[in-house]
């Protein structure tokens, strides 16, 4: 490792809360989408200080419109058609309790801010967020990891589809409360990062408002090798952290070598990108890519990249990829460059002709991009910026990670300029909640909570631990209260529902499960009926269909007796059950079976 390099890792953990949405009274369940759509566009506006944020202005250059799908758990607030309502007190309470548990400095008054995000993931063009506390720490096996801040914010809308410049989002997730906990760059390696994320998850679960869902905990990784902060988005699986870090470290080291080489070659010469329309040459080239691009109305543009020959793609040098990933964000299909040509149906002759037309020297690379004419100015500037960043070794930006652990350019790092006070919400006074939170005491650790649950609901220690470790305790308590049966609730949560999820490959809506359980409770339905109900829900039946279905009704004594009468002689419960199962799929209540058998035995 280079002596000046020191890897510094920080985490930003986002945990959803199941308190209902933050600024309206919609549910925080997985509300299904409807067919109603709203079409919008977003404009770039300046921050509180009157400056336009660089990430925001980057998105503006991309000129996009968005579709939003109404979900059953969205109202005019999510549609940005109604100002935010009062803040959700339970969500604020959870934020304060986690702050106190980390020994953070919690503010008595809070100011809701708008964080400008114009990628379409918020109908308003901003995410509402508030700083709840500063400082604090999490203990790990490798020592303390300091916390920089805890914010309470709204989750963004989930992207349903994206096609070129058009993106469609669902309003379902928008507005769900999110705790954003950022650590200082104190983390030494991926194992410690995993431990910190898990400990934070434990704390949130301990508030009683953890939202059970596949996306309940998400984290971003901040990484620095001394070449600027890189924020890596979407590290949903903790196992991806180490791969992403490894990839990013090697990418930055390669860029460092590339930077030294290019600086040496340029000797202070300015980076200049100037496109020339080479559509005529490219349409003669016989390249299929060129042909289809030009037929679709794009034109071919070529530029010299001074002294870049051999740096775009050869050995460990990958400047071409850096440029290609950036232009991709403008909806362009990518680039062709001299390090990889002849290829893509572009012959040596065409390449030579282009080089001579561009007056490229032997050290110079040439780069070809297909785009609409009005894009060329923006792309010129962006490529120049990109190369200058490498020359200066300022690699700070926001990247995202793909399943293979590779990171890709997403956008420039947003600055503090994207913050603007939410003028629709007055200051939030937290005095009363802070004293209530203090009275409740610190959040207990996972082990203590597991012991308590096991004792209170009469379930095995193992089940209780599984429930707590998987952040399901709130859900468990709710179900156990509805069914007044701890064991059955644990069985459903630990075994049956996960089994259904594996089998049907969908995660049934937790709110709908609760609704069905309440219905079952009110009818006195037992385990068998409940399992049929959940299976039907996983298979796509609606709650109404399930409630009205005959398949969930347990057989009555009269119905069973009638079957026995039709069957003739039956002696053992096993025989009876087998016979009934052969005739109907309806649930059998073991209590009823026992009653029937007792009657038969008595009669004999």
């Amino acid at each position: 490792m280079n002596s000046e390099e020191k890897i510094r890792i920080g985490l930003e953990v986002h945990a959803q809360l199941a308190t209902g949405k933050l600024f309206c009274r919609c549910s925080s369940g997985n509300g299904t989408d409807t067919d109603f759509r709203i079409k919008r566009r977003l404009w770039t506006v300046s921050g509180e200080m009157g400056e336009i944020d660089r990430a925001a202005s980057y998105e503006r250059e991309r000129n996009r419109s968005f579709l939003y799908r109404k979900s059953v758990n969205s109202c005019l607030v999510e549609a940005d058609e109604d100002p935010p309502h009062e803040i959700n007190q339970n969500a604020l309470m959870a934020a304060i309790r986690v702050s106190l548990a980390m020994d953070s400095v919690t503010f008595r008054n809070m100011c809701v801010m708008r964080k400008l995000v114009v990628d379409g993931s918020n109908t308003s063009g901003f995410q509402r967020t508030m700083l709840v506390s500063l400082g604090g720490y999490i203990d790990t096996g490798k020592g303390k990891v300091n916390i920089s801040s805890l914010c309470l914010e709204e989750d963004s809308a989930r992207k349903v589809s994206a096609e070129g410049e058009k993106a469609e989002y669902s309003l379902s997730r928008l507005g769900i409360p999110l705790l954003e906990i950022s650590t200082e760059p104190d983390i030494q390696d991926e194992n410690q990062a995993v431990e910190v994320a898990r400990k934070i998850g434990d704390l949130v679960a301990g508030t009683g408002f953890f939202r059970p869902s596949a996306e309940a905990i998400r984290q971003d990784v901040n990484l620095s090798l001394g070449y600027g902060r890189v924020e890596i988005k979407g590290v949903s699986k903790l196992s991806l952290i180490s791969e992403a870090i490894r990839y990013e470290v090697s990418r930055q080291r390669n860029l460092k070598r590339l930077s030294e080489e290019l600086n040496y070659r340029l000797k202070g010469e300015e980076v200049a990108v100037k496109f020339r329309d080479v559509t005529d040459k490219m349409s003669e080239s016989g390249s299929k890519i060129a042909k289809s691009q030009i037929e679709n109305g794009s034109r071919a543009f070529c530029t010299i990249l001074k002294k870049c020959s051999g740096l775009l793609k050869s050995g460990e040098y990958r400047l071409g990829m850096e440029i290609a990933e950036m232009v991709k964000m403008f909806g362009l299909k990518g680039v062709m460059h001299s390090d990889e040509l002849p290829a893509y149906g572009v012959s040596e002759d065409i390449l030579m002709a282009l080089r001579s037309e561009m007056r490229a020297g032997t050290d110079d690379a040439i780069l070809i991009i297909f785009m609409k004419e009005n894009m060329s100015g923006i792309i010129e500037r962006e490529i120049e910026k990109r190369i200058r960043k490498v020359l200066m070794m300022d690699l700070s930006e926001t990247r995202y990670v793909t399943e293979d652990g590779h990171t890709h350019f997403l956008r420039p790092l947003p600055g503090s300029e994207r913050m603007y006070p939410e003028t629709d919400i007055p200051y939030v006074s937290a005095d009363e909640l802070i004293s209530r939170a203090s009275a409740l005491g610190k959040i207990e650790d996972a082990e203590t909570r597991a012991v308590k649950i096991s004792e209170k609901f009469g379930i095995s220690r193992q089940d209780a631990t599984t429930i707590v470790k998987n952040f399901m305790e709130d859900e468990f308590v709710r179900i156990a209260e509805i069914l007044s049966d701890g064991r059955l609730s644990a069985r459903l949560l630990v075994q049956f529902i996960p089994e259904m999820e594996r089998k049907k490959k969908t995660m049934p809506d937790r709110d709908l499960i609760l609704e069905l359980l309440k219905f079952a409770g009110s009818r006195g339905y037992g385990r068998e009926s409940i399992e049929v109900m959940i299976e039907m829900l996983s298979s796509g039946f609606t709650v109404e269909q399930i409630k009205n279905s005959d398949e969930i009704k347990p057989l009555t004594i009269e119905e069973i007796n009638k079957m026995i009468h039709e069957a003739g002689k039956i002696n053992k419960p096993g025989e009876l059950i087998a016979y009934i199962k052969s005739r109907t799929r309806r649930p059998l209540d073991p209590v009823i079976i026992k009653k029937v058998m007792d009657n038969i035995i008595n009669e004999q």
Binding site: R40, L42, S65, A79, R108, N109, M419
Partner: protein, 410 residues
């Protein structure tokens, strides 16, 4: 420059000053934003604002901010083009920390400064529309007339709350117009990326291509963007507190829509004429009275004493209780004009169907078809000032498209 601080510092702080302090043992650095009701707002380096109570605020160090020149809205003149007159409202607003006031937004100003050919602007007022008055309507009308005479179409940026009042007041005062006059506003302020301000302004400019010779309103036609609609100023009303399509035509239809950046006519309207004629006079001795069951007749009496015309928002076809009818008779006897409109907003009033209506008619009340209550008010003010001897007759006939004589089957 550092200043040592001892006492009562917060009152000396100005927006932009940098402050270092210790809060519960933690060092905090921020920029002073404001002091309001004993609460101090600081902006931290990460952009978040924090709020401290004055008694928690113990700065260790303050660095005074340099004075930054304020960006003032300019005025750009134009001839034979489109002139935008900003009067305030959400469309033009942005919070100003130094005064706490709502100020013209730099976004809208810069949107106007895009160098679009033949589009000029000037900021003629800066108020929220609930603070409009008949005097301000006259002022706006005069400014509008000046621009019409320069050959300009006029787009007026205005708060949506009372847009109908201003639009209809302008409509009555402008007897003829040589160019279009279009009011527009926004439901989401222009300091938000999702603001409808920019689209509403650009739609308004596009609608001037239709040369409508009436005072119109242009806003969204749905909660989606790309839905610019043109409405008759005297037939539209704010029908929702917060939606983008809050202003809708009542008992009427949209006059035009924007499709793929082009204005397309949807209904008939008067075209622009050779010249513009303005009658800039309004008499503000008119009031609206919203009737409700059990209303104290004394309320009516008090209002009648202070006004020369009362627009009643009656129930259903235009009714009030018996005890109010006798007050109507008294007021009419002393020369007060009584105009009946309906709380139903949509549909005609009719004083012939029920005995209450007939008694009201006998007491001197008149009805004016389906005129909107707010429009009846501005029309009453216009008639009082300019045609008081023909008040009853003119109130009942459409002067600026304010009465729909045939309600369509839809």
């Amino acid at each position: 420059m550092f200043e040592a601080l001892t006492v009562a510092v917060s009152t000396d702080l100005r927006f932009g000053d940098r402050v270092k302090l210790t809060y519960n043992g933690r060092k905090i650095e921020g920029m002073f934003i404001s002091l309001e009701h004993g609460l101090i707002t600081l902006k931290l380096g990460n952009g978040y604002n924090i709020v401290l109570q004055e008694d928690e605020f113990r700065p260790d160090q303050v660095t005074k901010a340099e004075n930054k020149p304020e960006r003032r809205p300019r005025s750009v003149d134009v001839k034979n083009g489109v002139k935008i007159l900003a009067t305030g409202g959400t469309i033009a607003s942005r919070i100003d920390y130094t005064t706490g006031a709502v100020k013209p937004s730099p976004e809208v100003i810069s949107a106007l400064e895009t160098g679009e050919q033949n589009v000029g602007y000037s900021v003629i007022d800066d108020i929220l529309s609930e603070n409009m008055t008949p005097e301000k309507w006259i002022y706006i009308a005069k400014k509008t007339k000046e621009e019409l005479d320069r050959g300009n179409h006029v787009v007026i940026l205005h708060g949506t709350d009372t847009m109908t009042y201003t639009a209809s007041a302008l409509a009555f005062m402008l007897e003829r117009q040589s160019r279009s006059v279009i009011l527009t506003g926004s439901q989401r302020s222009s300091d938000r990326p999702s603001s409808d301000a920019f689209e509403n302004i650009s739609s308004s400019i596009m609608f001037t291509a239709l040369n409508a010779g009436e005072v119109c309103i242009s806003m969204h036609g749905s909660i989606s963007d790309f839905s610019g609609r043109l409405m008759r100023g005297t037939r539209s009303r704010k029908m929702h507190t917060s939606r983008r399509d809050a202003i809708r035509p009542v008992d009427g239809r949209y006059l035009a829509r924007i499709e793929d950046g082009v204005a397309i006519k949807e209904a008939e309207f008067r075209s622009t004429g050779e010249d513009s004629v303005l009658i800039p006079k309004m008499d503000s001795r008119a009031a609206i009275l919203y009737f409700y069951p059990g209303m104290d007749p004394g309320i009516f009496e008090t209002i009648a004493q202070k006004n020369d015309a009362i627009v009643i928002m009656g129930t259903g076809l235009g009714h009030v209780s018996e005890s109010i009818i006798s007050e109507v008779r008294k007021a009419h006897g002393s020369g007060v004009h009584i105009v009946m409109t309906s709380q139903c907003i949509a549909g005609n009033t009719n004083l012939n169907v029920y005995s209450t209506g007939r008694e009201l008619k006998a007491a001197g009340a008149i009805s004016a078809g389906d005129i909107l209550p707010e429009v009846a008010l501005t029309k009453a003010m216009f008639l009082l000032a300019n045609h008081s001897d023909e008040f009853e007759k003119l109130m009942q006939i459409p002067m600026r498209g304010e009465i729909e004589e045939r309600l369509r089957i839809e």
